[in-house]
Amino acid sequence: MSATHVNIIGLPRDVYKGLPTTLCAGCGHNSITNHLIKALYEFGVEPHRLAKMSGIGCSSKTPAYFVEQAHGYNGLHGRMPSAATGAKLANRELLVLGISGDGDTASIGLGQFCHMIRRNLDCAYLIENNGCYGLTKGQFSATADVGSKQKNGKVNDYSAIDLCGLAIELGATFVARSFSGDGKQLVPLLEAAFAHRGAAILDIVSPCVTFNDHVGSTKSYAYVKEHEIALHAPDFIIASKEITADYEPGTVKDIVFDDGSHVLLRKLDREYDPNDRLGALNVIHETRDRGELVTGLLFIDTTADDLCARERMTKTPLVRLREEDLRISREDWSALTAPQA
């Protein structure tokens, strides 16, 4: 036996790979896929427990490109949150990973996105955000910034929907923003999203190399690299590992998840409290006004109940219940349908 590297559940990294991508070479989404593969591997996700769900668009094709042996659900445009809700309710042991884009989430699917957040569905919800419609050749999406330019020179006049700001406003319990080109930040945030019990929203700016990577676009590699402001440097520590590094007091915020894992947020050049909802909204507004893109774990609340808990669902996945668990007893039945005459 060669000394193949395996993860904490004994699986090699290859298990987490998928079919070859059919997206454009250099697409930010492909980088995200690679970071996802790393995060799923490191986190030790069991492939049979993973439900990869998506809507329609370039982003929504990506579930085919990782963990080939897991179940995938490439559904309807903008309607993935409802299907993800059904899947999670049917089997609460599934790790639901939803992958969407800015058209899928911010336009056609905005309603379902909002209501999934209200319900705090336990899932990781990724938005691969490139500010345009790639598959239909570059039209603006609702996350395009005012003044951002299309390849043909057309300027966007309509205000951008900030999905992180919206999510925080709606009561989301985990909101992060990152950049497809920043694996160091994105991988731990993805792992934290898997560990979080509730809807974990990750807005990942992911440049469209074909239609939205030119001068004048605010979603290009060059623009994002130049304007990104990271709130902190995250590290993710899985439950079975000990925190070994020493940190200067006051330089690290330690967030502990239900499963015993941690995300450590190392302080950069500013104070930031990710438990402060109002503070998070302020930072989003302030940085946007300066033309900056703030990244990091913007907000987290690990104490809120998720949908399954709020609905007081049995711990047993509903799919495993049988006739004897579900039917009314014969005794109760005769009382219930007793003749009245």
């Binding site: 492939p47 049979h48 427990r49 439900a51 769900m53 579930p63 085919a64 080939e68 042996q69 897991a70 179940h71 995938g72 659900y73 490439n74 559904g75 309807l76 309607r79 949150p81 409802s82 299907a83 993800a84 809700t85 059904g86 899947a87 999670k88 309710l89 049917a90 089997n91 042991e93 599934l94 309603g111 379902q112 909002c114 209501h115 319900r119 399954c308 609905e311 007081r312 669902m313 049995t314 711990k315 047993t316 996945p317 509903l318 799919v319 219940l321 006739e323 668990d325 579900l326 039917r327 009314i328 014969r330 109760d332 039945w333 219930l336 349908t337 007793a338 003749p339 009245q340 005459a341």
Partner: protein, 603 residues
Amino acid sequence: MPGRSTNDFTIRVATVNGSGSQSSNLTLSNAIFRLGVPVAPKNVFPSNIEGLPTWFDVRITSKGYKCRTRDVDVLVALNQVTWRDDVAGVKPGGAIVHESTYPVSGETQRDDVTYYPVPFSELGKKHFENGDLRKYLVNMLYVGVLGELIGIDEATIEAAIKTQFRTKPAAVEANMSAVRLGIAYAREHFPKQDEFRLQRMTGKTDGTLFMDGNRAAALGCVMGGCTVAAWYPITPSSSLCESFIALAEKYRTDPKTGEKRVVIVQAEDELAAAGVVFGAGWAGARAMTSTSGPGISLMAEYAGFGYYAEIPGVIFDVQRAGPSTGLPTRTMQGDVAFAYTLSHGDTKHVVLLPATVEEAYSFAMDAFDLAERFQTPIFVLSDLDLGMNSWMTPPLPYPEKPFDRGKVLSADDLSKFDSWGRYRDVDGDGIPYRTIPGTNHGNAGFFTRGTGHDEYSRYSEDPQTWKGGLDRLVRKHDAARARVPQPVSDENGNAVGLIAYGTTHHAIAEARDILRDDGINVDYLRVRALPLAADVAAFVERHERVYVVEQNRDGQLYGIMRTELPAHLVERVFSIRHYNGVPIDAYAVVDPLLSALRMASVS
């Protein structure tokens, strides 16, 4: 000697919506039923919470007919706005119990009816101190008045009130005091003048109970193993999910921990409700949503996805009058053609068509089995009449069969072969095998997609693969033909046949009796599902002329039959339609049929 109208007349209660007359009307129906006399209550109500006119018809029918009748024999008039029209609607010889302050003059003064003026509001003010309860108790007054006039004894009314208020026993005495007041008033003021009387019967209501179709369907969902329900409130289907919620609260909740073996999501719209169903069905749960026409319009997206990606799910459509918002509180069989092919592209769904409370229950259970057996959306098309009205029904049988989970591969099954194809037709019936997410085997996973796919669920644009997939779906649909509820027929070799489905059935039953009394015998077949069973064409083959009776303007089943029947049978099929929003009655069948037969014999 019983008179002509003993145990065969209809009481119409005309009130103002929101005045709390529903309990009184159900009490009245239940009391008559307790005398052993069959009743068919029909609530004709407005889309309104308070203030608009509403009518409740209690049809008393010794023969046990269950359809609406146009006749009004006894009117209880408690709405001054409709007073004139309500009086005009009473049959000659009828009786009118009315608020005594309403004017009886001009058009409202008829010499062919008997008036029973009762000072309802004055009695209410005098006797019922509690202003909040007064309007309800005033309504109970007319139950007492009617009881005295038509012959329901106080003890029977009391038993009915106890049934009506079984969850609020404290309310029984207050209501009974109102009933007694009504009885006393009628006894003192009205020596009996008309001929409408009740006489205790035996053998007609024994062993039966009252239930509405929505509750029966909810019971079917519980017994059919539904664990995930998602809905968006809409008349007339809301009470289906609300009944399911109440049943789940009682029978699916662990008394010790409070944990539930069910989850119900009130979704943001019908589209999301369908999404939850086809997410849960994919993940292996038995899931349903219930809605009405406007919701079905929104669900078209997911219906097509469920059909093409082959995901089980149950959609109840309690039909109301459309198009558009239409008449939300009126009935129609308006979604048959739409539901049958719901989605863009080539789509054919399985549609169940319950006619009775028993079928609302049993078809609900069947729907979950069929959804998993055929891995496809199943539509159950009830309507407002069946869903929201109370019907006399025999007790609902306890299910003896286990769930049919269809072709599902377990981890053990998967160990027996190297590979499998999610959309391969291994058995030749068009039904492939599936796996459930969470199945712990390396080969269990597959990529479900609404895009074109091959037998292994891989994306494919290959012309043969695409066509092959669509052709297999047709084979699967054909396989369902013999597995859905089969038609029920009653034939005696007559030349003319009727075909109907759903609640139209009850008008057909009475219409055939009326025709028989006139010496005209017609055969009858009731369609209970789509795709059409082979028996339907065979029935048409055996008849010279077949009339398809339905409650919509365009003859939707008629249209489906014209498309699907063998060409030589198409010209034998004709259409009779009823579409004014109120449930079909026998004469809406008899009159057009007689004129059609007259025309046919002339030509």
